[in-house]
């Protein structure tokens, strides 16, 4: 094992073992809390919400991020580097700061509603935050830089003479896009999509600050059992289930990447 792996293991493993221990150590050493979690309607519904939000946010981020990556790929190298900084800027900003910024932008009397009110000269208060829209805006904003990078890498890996060849053979831009660009960027798209999906499974702050009651995800449920119910065994067992789900998605991706390399 390399030093980096050793450090990671040393930092991650003890707290993880501690959580596993807590999850089975209720009144007695048992799997009761897992059984209760699985049976609970709240857990089932939250799990469903988690998948729906993570899935739709990932797909939305992919669609928007693909357009950004496509534009970046067509720029000269120097200009591309400058534009990359713009893409990464929100990535370097604290997620808390961004969430508060979105409440100001999307709020009942926020920038967007004020602007619409002024344009239509009437009071408009579209519900853009503390609901699914707010959650998805926050999630997409968080995920786009993470999907742009792998997609851009796979777009840049496409040999430009293939585009020239297709064009000389008579293909129009739309056909070139669907027969060359899309299929050849698919590996990057697939890997990127899976990794942002897994990342968004564990989102906590965004649904907590920008979502409503119906947008709470598994991390928020962990927080709920931890701080409101004070049932640490259940909180831990939900964490472990979430960890297992994430692993179930990420391990095939790692294996696939290793096989490709």
């Amino acid at each position: 094992m390399s030093p980096a792996v050793l450090i990671a293991v040393a930092i991650v493993l003890p707290p993880l073992l501690r959580i596993i221990y807590t999850s089975v150590h209720g009144p007695a050493l048992s799997l009761t809390s897992y059984a209760e979690v699985v049976k609970s309607n709240l857990f089932r519904e939250t799990l469903r919400t988690t998948f729906i939000i993570a899935g739709s946010a990932s797909v939305l981020s992919l669609l928007l991020g693909f357009i950004v990556a496509l534009h970046l790929a067509r720029q000269p190298a120097q200009r591309r580097t400058a534009l990359m900084v713009l893409v990464l800027l929100p990535f370097w900003t604290s997620i808390l700061v961004k969430c508060f910024a979105f409440t100001i932008i999307l709020g009942r009397d926020g920038i967007i509603n004020s602007l619409l009110s002024w344009i239509f000269d009437t009071r408009i208060q579209l519900p853009l935050v503390l609901n699914r829209i707010g959650t998805l805006v926050g999630m997409t904003n968080y995920l786009i830089p993470l999907i742009v990078l792998p997609v851009l890498a796979s777009l840049l890996a496409i040999d430009s003479t293939i585009y020239r060849a297709a064009s000389i053979m008579g293909a129009k831009p739309a056909r070139i896009f669907w027969t060359v660009t899309v299929p050849m960027s698919l590996p990057g798209v697939f890997a990127g999509l899976l990794s942002i999906f897994v990342m968004s499974l564990g989102t906590f702050i965004i649904p907590a600050l920008l979502g409503g009651r119906r947008d709470q995800m598994l991390s928020n449920l962990v927080d709920f059992y931890n701080r409101q119910v004070l049932d640490w065994a259940k909180a831990s067992s939900i964490s472990i289930v979430l960890f297992g789900i994430a692993a179930a998605f990420i391990i095939p991706l790692i294996l696939w990447r290793r096989r490709k390399a």
Binding site: A165, I168, K172, T179
Partner: protein, 366 residues
Amino acid sequence: MSDDPVLGSRIAHTIALKGISKMFGSVTALHATDLSVEKGEFLTLLGPSGSGKTTLLNLIAGAIGPTTGAILLDGRDITTMPPRERGIGMVFQNYALMPHMTVFENVAYPLRVRREPAKTIQVKVTAALDRVGLRGFGDRKPRQLSGGQQQRVGIARCIVYSPAIIMMDEPLGALDKNLREQMQGEIKRLHRELGTTVIYVTHDQEEALNMSDRICLMNGGQIAQLGTPDELYFRPRSRFVAEFIGESNLFSGRMNSDGRIVIAEAQLIAGPDNRWTEGTEVLVMVRPERVKIGHADGFAKGHTNVLNGEVTSTSFIGGMTRVTVKADNGLNISAKMVSGHAETRPELGARVRLCWSSSDVVVVGN
């Protein structure tokens, strides 16, 4: 003209460039150039890198637009037409195959673009793969093929839609020497069988000499000389052409009254050439393989252009051996002789006698 009912282009096409030029910013990549390629002709654009041959190719393909001039395909102006409408085919140095498609799908691509029926596609792709010797390779992916096979796919993909003009941009540049020579033969055969007009770009003069009907030798953004391989080799019109194609001994001299050329006290006898008047400074060329080399007391009388000298270097380059001689009059002359065993080669410092016939003295220019 064409013996292939499926792939043969019934009519070969002509392309003509009228005063075409290209500036990149303030840099002139191509000076105003006229060039016409005849029906079914194999024309090679030859030249060192930066000579303008790739610019010329890209202008014809439509990848870039000219600064001045017009491009005519069969007399029709295509100067501003986008590449996809020109009906031109191109073979690339790095093959430019679609890695995610099979060989069949790659070759079928231009036909699918043209919305040809599936049955026609099947027939034409099979015929094209047959032509390039890749029958049965349709289901493979390009990465499962060797470089030579990939370029055959590139050629099949080009001939399959019978383009008006086929352009080849250093198509054999990525292959090793033996394979390159074999592929040269195959491209020539395909050209003969299909009768298509081909514009071929290379920086390899042997490739150009071997394959072309005509060679357009480029230098510094303009045509240095346009002619058949024989014309360029035996009748170069400038120092650049004489030096770029083959090896050459070049001498500066002056015409005297009886048609001889005086060089450094020696007299060279050239073939009859009435382009130059007495006293003109001229540049003359003798190809090393035309220089005979013999013993210092050799060569019977009747030989012209006889010089004595001393061997300063020999190099064995396979079939030929190059011998450099410093003649007694100060000229350095390179001669090429058919190689024999080491003991038959002249030794360094040996006295030798050189001679060449007056018909081998070519006046390049003045």
